[in-house]
Amino acid sequence: MKTIRLKIPLIIAVLLFSLTLFSNLVLAENYTVQGLIVKAPNNTPIPGLTVSLIHSALGRSVPATTDQFGRYVFYNIPARQEPYYMEIYWGKQLVYRDEIIVNGPTSIPTIIL
């Protein structure tokens, strides 16, 4: 009887650990994040901007550069419960920062600067 009592918390601990591991594995899926950056008032696409994602635990992403149509694409961005911050740089000058959530393939609404 004593052995069974000792085993129950152990089984619960193992189950909880497995559950945590499984949830982390599910959340560790990677997705594409893409969007468009234009300039007001004519919504002209802005090429050559440096776009980067930052995350408190992951650090900074490999930076993307907007193409001639103002588009940027990030690949293999891990899905996370905590938000990312997206930063846009004109050269080395920060011109935009906002929160984004990545929990699947993400299309960011067009950013107008």
């Binding site: 994040v33 300039k39 002209t44 696409p45 802005i46 090429p47 050559g48 901007l49 440096t50 980067s52 994602l53 930052i54 995350h55 408190s56 992951l58 650090g59 900074r60 992403s61 490999v62 930076p63 993307a64 550069t65 193409d67 001639q68 940027y72 694409v73 990030f74 690949y75 293999n76 961005i77 891990p78 911050y85 930063e87 740089y89 004109w90 050269g91 080395k92 000058q93 920060l94 011109v95 935009y96 920062r97 906002d98 929160e99 600067l113």
Partner: protein, 196 residues
């Protein structure tokens, strides 16, 4: 591990075996380092152009073993491509421009059962150089291998067309980070994600 790798490892192993074996034979006195007569000298000849002879035949074992080891080392040395330096002048931009360089693009087809099993041979015969600057239309230039002289790829004078004027950094567009949020610098090469 390829057949070639196995041959290289075996070659190096043979070399080490001959050298160590030679030392053991010397230690046991089976072979001696004392000089022999001219008639008993060990000689190696290659196409009558190259001839080595020694009156110390025991040294031959070390020499052959050493050749095995050195050849294996030379062959297995990874080939590092020589660096390419890019030079050029941007006529109308003084700052914030950057270059991205890509080699060729390879396409592989997946089989009808969805399996991918393809092979490519990476080559640097053509490099695609894209020059970008904020607000300017990117300029793309191709550089062939034979255009690279002494490791220098000359891009010449580049004139990028401006599309939009500089965007001002406005406070309303920059959301503040939570206190204690550690942000690596932009110069950081990036620790996650990927771009094309």
């Amino acid at each position: 591990m390829s057949t070639f790798d196995i041959i290289v490892i075996l070659s190096a192993f043979c070399g080490v075996l001959m050298v160590v074996g030679g030392i053991i034979l010397l230690y046991k006195g089976i072979i001696k380092l004392s000089g022999t007569s001219q008639n008993e000298a060990l000689s190696l000849e290659f196409k009558k152009e190259f001839r080595v002879s020694t009156q110390y035949p025991a040294l031959g074992i070390f020499l052959i073993g050493l050749i095995f080891v050195v050849v294996a080392m030379i062959i297995s040395k990874p080939q590092i491509p020589s660096p390419i330096e890019f030079r050029g002048t941007l006529e109308n931009i003084k700052r914030d421009a950057s270059l991205s360089v890509e080699a060729s693009h390879w396409n592989l087809r997946a089989a009808s059962d969805g399996k991918i099993n393809g092979k490519i041979t990476p080559c640097l015969d053509i490099l695609w150089v894209e020059v970008t600057a904020p607000g300017y239309e990117p300029a793309i230039k191709s550089i062939r291998k034979d255009e690279i002289q002494n490791g220098i790829a000359n891009l010449g004078n580049l004139n990028l067309k401006q599309i939009v004027s500089k965007v001002e950094s406005l406070e309303k567009n920059i959301k503040k980070l939570p206190t204690g949020y550690n942000v690596p610098p932009l110069t950081d090469s990036g620790s996650f994600g990927g771009v094309k």
